[in-house]
């Protein structure tokens, strides 16, 4: 595997071949991230394209401190958030009540959450309303703090907390009843 710092250097010189190598190295990981933020695969791939173009055009901003994949991921997430803001007013909320049902039907009682597959969890996440989904991703998986999320999404810290709480509740209901 070619060293990131070398690839980054060549990408700064707009070496298309190295850009392609860097893309190939990280595209699937980044799409894995974006699938959690987007409502569909097509949307995730749109964001992926947009994010990579942004990353290559602004590669100068990558200071070289910290991992490149971390930097790339933050660009992807920011692009996803921009996307979310842009589409917020137009998107129809998905059918939130059916999500995860198929899993439960197939398996009856949920006996061990650990045994759940990524795909099932992904279904649960993508089934959340967009606002919940973004907050849940940022807080639970990416590990941002509520005050940071509030800043990123331009909402109150309290809104972030209560959205998160409600998202979590929906998720848990879909993963199996508590009592």
């Amino acid at each position: 595997m070619i060293d990131d710092s070398y690839l980054v250097k060549r990408c700064l010189e707009r070496d298309r071949k190295c850009q392609c190598l860097l893309y190939e190295k990280y595209a699937s990981l980044m799409l894995g991230v974006l699938m959690r933020y987007a409502g569909s695969r097509a949307e995730a791939e749109d964001i992926l394209q947009e994010g990579f173009v942004k990353a290559f055009m602004n590669m100068k901003q990558y200071a070289g401190t910290g991992s490149f994949s971390g930097w790339l991921k933050s660009i992807m997430i920011n692009t996803a958030i921009t996307h979310f803001h842009r589409n917020r007013n137009f998107r129809e909320q998905g059918p939130i009540d059916n999500v995860g049902e198929s899993y439960l039907k197939d398996h009856g009682e949920v006996s061990g959450l650990e045994r759940l597959k990524e795909d099932d969890l992904l279904k649960v996440i993508t089934g959340l309303p967009p606002g919940f989904r973004v907050v849940f991703n940022l807080y639970a998986i990416e590990g941002y703090k509520h005050h940071e999320i509030a800043e990123m999404l331009n909402i109150d810290e309290g809104t972030s907390k209560s959205q998160y709480s409600r998202a979590r509740k929906l998720i848990r209901e879909r993963l199996g009843k508590r009592q």
Partner: protein
Amino acid sequence: MPDQNHIEDLFRDKFSNFEVEPSGGTWTGISKKLAWQEFFRFSLTSFNIWYAAAGLGIIGALVYVGLETSEPDVADPVEKEVPEEVIPFGEPEVEDDTLEIGVIDDPAAEESVEIDTEVPGTDPVVPMQVLPADSPAVSDLPLQPAQPADKVVGPVDEAVDLFAAEEDVIIPLADFGATPESGCHNLRVQFTDRSVNAASYRWSFGDGGFSTSMHPVYFYDQPGTYTVTLEVESERGLKDVAEQQITVYPKPEALFEVRADEDAGYGRTVYFFNYSRNAESYIWDFGDGNNSTAKDPVHVYLEPGNFTVSLTAVSEHGCTDIMELENIFSDEEYFISFPNAFRPDMGGPSDGRYDPADPVTKVFYPKYKGVSEYQLSIYNKSGLLLFETTNIEIGWNGYFNNRLVAPEVYIWKARGRFANGQPFVMAGDVTVIPNN
């Protein structure tokens, strides 16, 4: 039973290296977009190259001019002799020798003289000329009292005095205070300089941040223990360093969920599930005047209404975080609401089915979302039951026993349950408007 307290860990674990192969055309799309965007940026770059070329041209012109002027320099050896011509100025060197003799018992002075003799021949002239004017100024300096060179007396010795004063310029002493020295996450610390004889400051806050102001304020946004160093430099370039530790305690994260008892009678029993992290004690405010310090309390609300519940999580160092959940009984997802009037169909009783998209309401029916159980009853003013249904897709057509009711006010009662198990009981009145 799985450990459901850590949905976060489950998701984080599953998705930390989650990969999805993008479809084939993605890179082509990216490279096309890149080419397009770079095309625009390229014009900028070519401007830069143009500027660079212009700059190179100027440099070239300068070099050319410089070469022309330097040619005689190389050719003319007279210039090289100039240093030799300066040597006669070296007379002060003789004075230096006398200095050395005069101050032989003062080691500091000796050093200064040694330094002096190292200075190129032209330099000694300067101190000699400046000396008479400068000496009173030197005695004005507040730094003067601290130096031990006082015993040296005499006009010649004053020169020594000057150097001694400069050597001894008081050593800077770094010292500072911090308020507070420890505290909760997102800590604001006011640093106060207490250094002596410092001319410039360089603070390093231990997390990569630094400052050059005298009394900086710094925000620590990550918990941890940090070693703050203050390096001060005097006007003469002498340095000193002071150190102090700042401890930033992690803030707990308050997080909870609410679940109302499904078989709620008069009192509604509500279970609170506490998912707070880094906390060791809790303060609950149930919004109805009651409190609790239990971790996962169960509370019975005797009064109807909606309540705002807050949870304060307290860590071992007394750091707190608050989470508030407004209107615990409402859930944005689920609702049901009824109109207060409708116009029945005059042409005979319909089956009560309605089309929610139809703006003409010939049937009395609710707008709703997420209703799983439902019962609607219509009464007249004297309490006679006129209509009842448990099918939410069927509304009241305004007829009773196949006869249109009189145009007046009727009472409706609805009860049922939302999909999340929360029951609802509602009542109101509805006016039947005649069709003219």
